[in-house]
């Protein structure tokens, strides 16, 4: 029998694995079995329990909350017992939905939701797989509104405007209040239809160390050197001066090396977001127009009557225009001259938490998704009383920027339903999407995840109470200025195909392989080739690309708007504004709007 030792070992090993698998699976089963069995009468009691124990505070009264949940209960009746799968990227907000709201939804409606969390890139991949194969992989996706131009053209995504008034009318909440969603314009296609329902929203702002900027000694040194006060930079010249001031002249604060700038530059897909999100529009490369420049947007793509017609200057685009080249060059110069030595080797995810370590004085391109991690106690950037030493403020703009242009990035992760999902599953998923964005739960969700998406929540007392700890987040969202922060718009006909071109070209310029001009020229050409292919396919209908004939660049430079000719002086006088003054002007504008 000794000869059978191996077979025995293997059998033992496999049996062991099966026992573990079996035990865990049994654990799962017994968990499910021990979950309270839900009778129709129990739903109302469950709703009351959730309202009292979890969904507080809310902008609704308790009775209004219960009435809203009662509607969900009734609307879900035909789908009771169903189990659906939805997916989103990993964010605190979605974790809350996945772990708490999905369970609440089950106990209130009887529909079990498996709310999956995976990396954003994988969400897009699953979405594309479902769109192209027609196989139902997930019943609903939380997908960034950057893809609105793609969704509104390809026809794979259900237009919610049609769905709500058509086959989904019986499962559309009467208390949804679409106008209350601050990101609705981002999810509206060029045809005026809403394609996605906003679920969470975040912005990209300027971040700075308020305590250092308020230090009288540093203020005095800065004013003496640059001839204007240290404050929130209004333009890139001031940002550059402040970056130089901290990195080159101040160098150390309390014995610690400090830097006037933070960024990232690793050859990685996240390098593309650094540019496509808003960078070119901040420099001023596109045209005026909110949410996106028209006819030329912040990707440098020109559109005429919703048709993309080119991104090279020779076709009327601005991807390789002087402003775009200037934007790339400044990004590279600052990264190399003023950021920490390790920054060029970092990705978005690695660079994001660095300012929380206390060595960074300011960051021009900072995502508010990092807020929660920046207000944790015991961090070098948080005071003993829990208030932050930092603040967020509007991003400074480059010399090509004009009033009325997009000034930064703001995006909404939004519920997206595909037409390849069977109708009953789509309806159940739509109920869940409305539940996690309903006024009953939205304020609590916002306080947990800090990604506000409803105007009523932003103006609530709970947000006012929390504002001092959030470094300007609430003030930004309450100000009318926030409309200048927008996502990728409808000029981009196929986000996945075009976005992937950016990071490789930018990385070539960062590494010094090619000049900024050559990188943007190559990018513009590649974008035009993709647009040309889409034009040849001819599947995108009336808003599909139709490229302009190539013309001399001077022709386009002589036309009004983008592409704009090179400025003689790309570094005008630096300009700053006092943070407190800025804040009070926001509050005054907000009060004016409220009246």
């Amino acid at each position: 029998m000794g000869d059978c030792a191996l077979v025995n070992s293997i059998v033992r090993g496999i049996t062991g694995v099966f026992i573990v698998v079996g035990l865990v699976a049994c654990g799962q089963t017994s968990d499910e079995a021990s979950a309270p069995s839900i009778s129709a009468q129990a739903y109302a009691a469950n709703a009351e329990r959730w309202v009292d124990s979890e969904f507080q505070p809310s902008t609704l009264t308790r009775d209004e909350q219960l009435a809203e949940l009662a509607w969900f209960n009734t609307a879900a009746e035909p789908f009771r017992g169903m189990s659906i799968n939805v997916v989103s990227e990993t964010l605190t907000t979605h974790q809350y939905e996945s772990e708490t709201l999905a369970q609440a939804f089950y106990e209130i409606t009887g529909i079990r939701v498996n709310h999956d969390l995976i990396q954003e890139g994988d969400v897009i991949e699953k979405l594309q797989t479902q769109m192209q194969s027609g196989e139902n992989i997930f019943d609903a996706y939380v997908n960034d509104s950057d893809l609105i131009g793609t969704h509104s053209r390809y026809g794979y995504v259900v237009a919610l405007s049609d769905f709500m008034s058509g086959e989904g009318a019986d499962v559309t909440s009467p208390t949804l209040d679409l106008d209350d969603f601050i990101g609705l314009s981002f999810t509206t296609g060029p045809d005026g239809k809403v394609y996605q329902l906003p679920d969470q929203q975040f912005a990209n702002l300027y971040w700075f160390r308020h305590d250092w900027f308020s230090d009288p000694e540093l203020k005095e040194q800065f004013a003496a050197r640059y001839g204007y006060p240290l404050g929130v930079p209004v333009n890139w010249s001031a940002y550059e001066d402040i970056a130089e001031f901290f990195s080159v002249h101040v160098k150390e604060i309390d014995g610690q090396r400090v830097y006037g700038h933070m960024d990232y530059g690793k050859k990685d897909p996240s390098l593309g977001w650094r540019f496509t999100d808003a960078w070119l529009s901040m420099a001023g490369a596109g045209d005026q127009g909110i949410p996106n420049g028209l006819p030329v947007d912040e990707w440098g793509i020109r559109a005429e009557q919703c048709r993309p017609v080119g991104s090279s200057v020779s076709r009327g685009g601005a991807t390789n225009a002087p402003a775009a080249v200037y934007a790339l060059q400044k990004y590279i110069d600052w990264l190399k001259a003023y950021a920490p030595e390790q920054a060029p080797g970092m990705t978005f995810s690695e660079a994001g938490p660095v300012p929380a370590q206390g060595q960074i004085a300011q960051q021009i391109f900072w995502y508010t998704t990092f807020t929660a991690d920046m207000i944790k106690p015991d961090l070098p950037v948080v005071n003993a009383d829990g208030t932050p030493k930092w603040r967020m403020a509007p991003s400074p703009h480059g010399p090509y920027w004009e009033e009325g242009m997009k000034l930064g990035y703001q995006d909404t992760g939004a519920w997206t339903l595909l037409s390849s999902t069977p109708l009953d599953r789509r309806k159940a998923a739509w109920l869940y999407a409305q539940f996690v964005t309903s006024k009953t739960v939205s304020l609590k969700k916002t306080l947990v995840g800090l990604t506000p998406f409803r105007d009523s929540d932003i103006r609530s007392q709970a947000m006012t109470d929390m504002a001092p700890k959030l470094g300007g987040l609430v003030e930004f969202y309450r100000s009318p200025a926030r409309t200048a922060w927008t996502p990728t718009g409808t000029n981009v006909p196929d986000y996945p195909k075009l976005a992937q071109l950016w990071w490789a070209n930018v990385a070539n310029a960062v590494s010094g392989q090619v000049s900024a001009q050559a990188a943007m020229d190559s990018l513009a050409q590649q974008q035009d080739r993709v647009l040309e292919r889409l034009q040849q396919h001819g599947t995108l209908g009336e808003c599909g690309p139709r490229l302009n004939e190539e013309r001399d660049a001077e022709y386009w430079f002589s036309q009004p708007g983008a592409p704009k000719p090179a400025l003689d002086n790309e570094k005008p006088q630096g300009e700053t504004v006092d943070y407190e003054t800025l804040l009070s002007s926001w509050t005054a504008q907000d009060a004016e709007m409220a009246q």
Binding site: D3, C4, A5, L6, V7, S9, I10, R12, G13, I14, G16, V17, F18, V20, V21, V24, A25, Q28, D31, N85, V87, E89, T90, L91, T92, S98, N114, D116, L117, I118, Q119, E120, G121, D122, K126, T129, S133, E135, I137, F138, F202, S349, E350, G352, P353, V354, A356, Q357, Y367, T369, F370, A372, D373, K376, L379
Partner: protein, 269 residues
């Protein structure tokens, strides 16, 4: 001790440190908070925490990912070895029309990158309702592990003299008795090596496992991507998950370690 042996020892020690360092780093990261990991350089965690391991062990999503992965890996290993054993025996004992071509054709499957088969597998499994099941991934992995197993086993079995087959027949044993009680135990090292390779291929393969699953059979490698988000990376939890993903491999090696060493020494691996 002469000089050259001292040098050899130092070289060996250096090599061991080189091998162990990434694992040590993984373990120390798993024992630290994210702020700690990003903030300071430490060889030993000054504020060790088990919170990352607790997250993995208490969150059903994480341990379900391990269960899913183990399910298809075990299935794949079982199918591959049970199919490859008779196939390898036949290739080692019989000559038939096109045997060499067939053997070569099996190997060519191994030569193609998994990405080539993504689309056909996805469409096939979707159409027959296997999408998002452990069986789908296990069968897809079989395309690579069965040829590998046949190849490894055939090499070992060819080394076993055919006289043993004849002796068993003369002794009056049935083929089934001979195969299971005499032939397989002789080839135990080969089976150990094959199990190891099947297990490890399936355990670390990401592309097919990710594409052929949605939410029900999501493998651990996909669950691990949830540590990357718009608010940064959850390094600690990712490292803790990494520690757990190393364990099954160590377990398999532990169970088949003696046979594995012999197998590496004798066979065609």
């Amino acid at each position: 001790m002469n000089r050259s042996s001292r040098v050899s020892r130092w070289v060996l020690l250096g090599y061991c440190v080189y091998l162990v360092l990434p694992l040590y780093w993984l373990l120390t990261m798993a024992l630290r908070s994210n702020a700690d990991i990003a903030g300071t350089f430490e060889l030993l965690p000054s504020n060790p925490t088990f919170a990352n391991f607790a997250e993995i062990l208490t969150n059903p999503v994480w341990y379900q990912g391990f269960v899913n992965s183990l399910s298809y890996v075990v299935l794949n290993t079982l199918i591959s070895v049970s199919v490859a054993l008779p196939a390898a025996y036949v290739f080692s004992r019989y000559r038939f029309l096109g045997d060499r071509q067939l053997f070569f054709w099996l190997l060519t499957n191994r030569m193609a990158p998994p990405a080539v088969f993504l689309l056909p597998f996805f469409q096939l499994y979707s159409s027959i309702g296997l999408f998002d099941t452990p069986l789908a991934v296990a069968l897809a992995h079989c395309l690579f592990t069965v040829p590998l197993s046949v190849w490894i086993l055939e090499g070992f079995m060819s080394g076993v003299p055919t006289e043993i087959d004849d002796m068993a027949r003369i002794d009056g044993h049935s083929f089934w008795f001979f195969f299971t009680r005499i032939f397989l135990p002789i080839n135990r090292s080969a089976i150990g090596v094959t199990v190891f390779f099947c297990f490890m291929f399936s355990w670390v393969e990401l592309l097919l496992a990710r594409t052929l699953t949605g939410s029900e059979a999501k493998p651990i490698v996909v669950v691990m991507t949830r540590t990357v988000s718009a608010s940064g990376m959850d390094w600690g939890v990712l490292a803790a998950a990494g520690v757990f993903t190393v364990l099954p491999g160590i377990l398999v090696v532990w169970f088949v370690r003696q046979h594995l060493v012999k197998g590496f020494a004798l066979g065609r691996v």
